[in-house]
Each structure stands twice: as structure tokens, then as C-alpha cells.
């Protein structure tokens, strides 16, 4: 099982996740990320989740499980 974990305290609103993975992240009125999926990831969103994690300058997104 692959899970996505979002650390709200680390997010400062770079908005990289919202640009790269809009199915997983929205933004609030102040531009902070709002996760649309928490915990277990549907298989079809795994690649997008890894992309969001790999581009977050604050390391606020973690992917747990899987092979990478």
C-alpha cells in the first residue's frame, strides 16, 4: 500500500504540488496547499504524488511504501 503524507506546518505555499498534481492538491485563498487525498493513494495517482513530493522545496510531502 502506498500512502501520501502532507505536513501542513512545513508548507509555505510554493504551489508546486498544485501545478504538478492538481488531482491531489488544491490551494486555499492564501495559497497554501490543501490535500485532496490523504493516506492511501489510488494506484493511478501514484506517479503524480511522487512528482509532487519530488518538487516540494520544503519536503512537506512524503510518499510511504512502494518501490521508490
Amino acid at each position: 500500500m502506498v500512502r501520501i503524507v502532507f505536513d501542513r506546518a512545513a508548507c509555505v505555499g510554493h504551489n508546486r504540488c498544485y501545478l504538478l498534481a492538481p488531482a491531489l492538491f488544491d490551494v486555499d485563498d492564501e495559497g497554501y496547499a490543501v490535500p485532496l487525498v490523504e493516506g492511501e493513494l489510488p494506484a493511478e495517482l501514484e506517479a503524480a504524488a511522487r512528482l509532487a513530493a519530488d518538487n516540494c522545496p520544503e519536503f512537506a510531502i512524503t510518499i510511504e511504501g512502494g518501490d521508490a
Binding site: V12, H14, L19, V27, G31, P57, E58
Partner: protein, 392 residues
């Protein structure tokens, strides 16, 4: 030759000509460099050190973010230009007033006017022939127009903005005596007075009208914030646009890829921002501490070279190489921590649209005189002269 490890000066032409090379050599030989200039200044070049300082608002104050011979004259926690010069807890108050205006959804409406403006600029520029300056003829005008629109100041004042900004950013403290009527604050006092007389739907009127628990913002706060938006949004963005076009002029394979696969642009924009990040910030040490094991004392300046952090092999694979579709790219072009560039979504939009429109009209071009390309001095890095020849 200067000893960059012990006597660097980032405001010289020698520095500007080779900053990426200087960062790389320092990172391997002396990763926290020092200079006695400006009353004592440190220069870390590793990503880990830059990130640690950006996240440590206890030991490093933002009271001034431009290293100069003089010290900030508006005290913490507000500083001259809130929120960039502010420290917690005031910083969060000042920043939250502005965040909604710069959220990605609020900024998206500027895409079409920005595109129309870029397109018209290119058409006008090409009328002068196939050899043009892509920096002063194109890149320079884009953020001036967008910021003037957002703030509600006349776009024809663009030359004055650029003069203020040049004085503040490229030659800090070296301009000599300045006529008070030609000072940024005098200009902004006029802008605020004009908006008080005739309010309109723009950011200046928004700041003037704001009331927090029945209390308006101080004039210092309003003028400082407008100064910030004007200074921070212009040199930075045209530097990024110019540097991206400088890259594309020399890399036909990247031009071809972006023309053939426009969806790669999302990644290309971030790669331009990583490799050609324009902005180096600064802090002042608030309490004695250390940077990467190197002791620093209260009152010392610290440069925060995000562009150097973006080229650290500890943080990026093959960092000196431009990879148009780089998929792992945690670049720090917009800073790190609570001071993340407020205008990052606007800057990103301007950069993407400016490059898209340029490539749509000028898919093939080259540097017409590589030796004539001149990079800016100071903490904002970009080409200030960029002669190109349009090939098709």
C-alpha cells in the same frame, strides 16, 4: 584576481561575469566565505546551509535584505518594506494582508493581458529588424507593465521605477547624493496621496482602505509595502526572463523540444528558475550562532544565495546541466521558509508566458554578439544586455 573566499564583493563586474563559477569553486574549497566589506559579510554556498538560515528566524533577522554599507533605519520587527523586511510575529500579520492577492487563482486572471502585452511587444520590437536586444527591448518591459497594472501606478513611469531599482539593487549605497524629488519614497508618497484623493480598484487603494480592528495601516507600512512590490517584482522577473532567453538562444535542442511539446514548458520553467535563479537574499545575524560550523556574530551580514543552493550537487543531480524536463526539482529560486517569494505565482506566470510568446513568434534565434552579453551586479542576477539575431 580577487580572493573570493576572504574578500568577495558581489557588486563588482568581475563577480557578475562569473558568479556561478565563483559559487562552485567556493562550495568545494570554502563553503562559507567571508568578506570584511560592508562591515562584515558571510557567503554560504551549500544548499543545506542556505536552507538552514532561511528557516532560522531566531538567529537571523530580515530587518534588511540588501547588503550595503549602511544599516537598516526602520527597526525590527517591521523594517522598511514589510513583510520582506519583517520578523515574526509581525511578519505573518503583514504577509497575510497580501497573500490572497498573490494566490495562484487570483493571479491566473493576469495571464491573458500578459500574453497580449508580450505578443504586442515582440511585434513592435521585430519591426526594427532581425537583430534586437531581448533584455532591454523585451524582458525588461514585461514586469513593469504587469506590476503597474496591479499596483495602480502609470505604466509610463516605468523608466523611473527602473532608476529607483537600479540604485537600490545593483549599486547599493554607491549612487552618491540623490535629488529628494527623485527618490522612491517621495514618488510613493505622491502615489498614496493621489489614491487617497481618488480611490480605485487596485492594490494601493486596498492597502490604504484596510482596517485591522478599526485601525488603518501606518503610512510607513503602506509605503514600505508598495516599495517592496515595486522593487521585488521588476528586476527579478526580467532577470529570469532574460536569462531563460539567453539559454534558449544557445540551445536549439531545447527550443525545438518546447516548440514540439508545449507540455514540457511546466518543467522547463522550473528548470530555468533553478539554474538561472536571479535572487540572492540577505539576513543580519540577530544572535551569535554558526553557519555550517563557522561561528558568526550578531550584526554580521549574511548573503543567502539561493542560486548557489540550486547548483549544489548534494541537493540536485547533475546540477550544472540544464535538463529541460527535469522531474526532481526542489529548487529554491523563490526562497525557503516563511519569506517564500510572495509574488512567485506572478513571476512564474510572467516567465512562462514571456517564453511561450517569444518561441511562438521567434522559434529560432541565436546570440548575435556573445561578448556583448552583460550580467547585472548585486543580489539580482540577469542579463542587462542580450543582443540576439532572429533566424526565423
Amino acid at each position: 584576481m580577487a580572493d573570493w573566499a576572504t574578500d568577495f564583493d558581489h557588486t563588482t563586474d568581475q563577480w557578475a561575469a562569473d558568479a556561478p563559477g565563483i559559487w562552485e569553486r567556493l562550495r568545494t574549497t570554502c563553503p562559507v566565505a567571508h568578506s570584511d566589506r560592508f562591515g562584515g559579510t558571510w557567503l554560504p554556498t551549500r544548499h543545506a546551509d542556505v536552507a538552514a538560515i532561511a528557516h532560522d528566524t531566531d538567529h537571523f533577522t530580515s530587518n534588511s535584505v540588501i547588503v550595503a554599507d549602511y544599516r537598516p533605519d526602520v527597526p525590527a520587527p517591521m523594517g522598511f518594506a514589510p513583510p520582506i523586511t519583517s520578523d515574526p510575529p509581525f511578519h505573518e500579520f503583514a504577509r497575510r494582508l497580501l497573500l490572497p492577492a498573490f494566490s495562484p487563482k487570483a493571479i491566473a486572471v493576469l495571464e491573458e493581458p500578459t500574453r497580449a502585452f508580450c505578443s504586442a511587444l515582440i511585434e513592435e520590437l521585430l519591426e526594427s529588424g532581425p537583430e534586437v536586444d531581448a533584455a532591454t527591448g523585451y524582458a525588461q518591459h514585461i514586469p513593469v507593465r504587469v506590476i503597474a497594472h496591479l499596483l495602480g501606478v502609470p505604466p509610463e513611469d516605468g523608466d523611473r521605477f527602473r532608476r529607483f531599482i537600479h540604485r537600490i539593487l545593483e549599486r547599493p549605497g554607491q549612487a552618491g547624493p540623490v535629488d529628494p524629488s527623485d527618490m522612491l519614497t517621495t514618488y510613493l508618497e505622491g502615489v498614496v496621496a493621489d489614491h487617497r484623493r481618488s480611490p480605485r480598484d487596485d492594490l494601493v487603494s486596498y492597502l490604504i482602505d484596510l482596517e485591522i480592528d478599526g485601525v488603518s495601516l501606518s503610512d510607513q507600512h503602506v509605503i514600505g509595502t508598495i516599495a517592496l512590490l515595486l522593487i521585488a517584482g521588476i528586476d527579478t522577473t526580467w532577470s529570469a526572463i532574460g536569462a531563460s532567453l539567453w539559454h534558449l538562444a544557445q540551445h536549439p535542442e531545447d527550443r525545438a523540444r518546447l516548440v514540439a511539446e508545449p507540455e514540457v514548458m511546466t518543467f522547463a520553467v522550473e528548470e530555468f528558475l533553478r539554474l538561472y535563479a536571479p535572487v540572492t537574499m540577505a539576513r543580519i545575524v540577530a544572535r551569535d550562532t554558526e553557519i555550517g560550523g563557522c561561528p558568526v556574530a550578531e550584526g554580521d551580514w549574511v548573503l543567502l544565495p539561493f542560486p548557489a543552493a540550486n547548483r549544489d550537487p548534494e541537493a540536485f543531480e547533475d546540477p550544472e546541466r540544464f535538463v529541460v524536463d527535469r522531474e526532481r526539482n526542489r529548487h529554491a529560486a523563490f526562497g525557503l521558509g516563511i519569506h517564500r517569494c510572495l509574488g512567485s505565482n506572478l513571476a512564474r506566470l510572467e516567465l512562462r508566458v514571456a517564453v511561450e510568446e517569444w518561441l511562438r513568434r521567434v522559434p529560432d534565434f541565436e546570440l548575435s554578439d556573445p561578448d556583448a552579453v552583460r550580467w547585472s551586479t548585486g543580489q539580482v542576477r540577469g542579463p542587462r544586455s542580450l543582443p540576439v539575431r532572429v533566424l526565423s
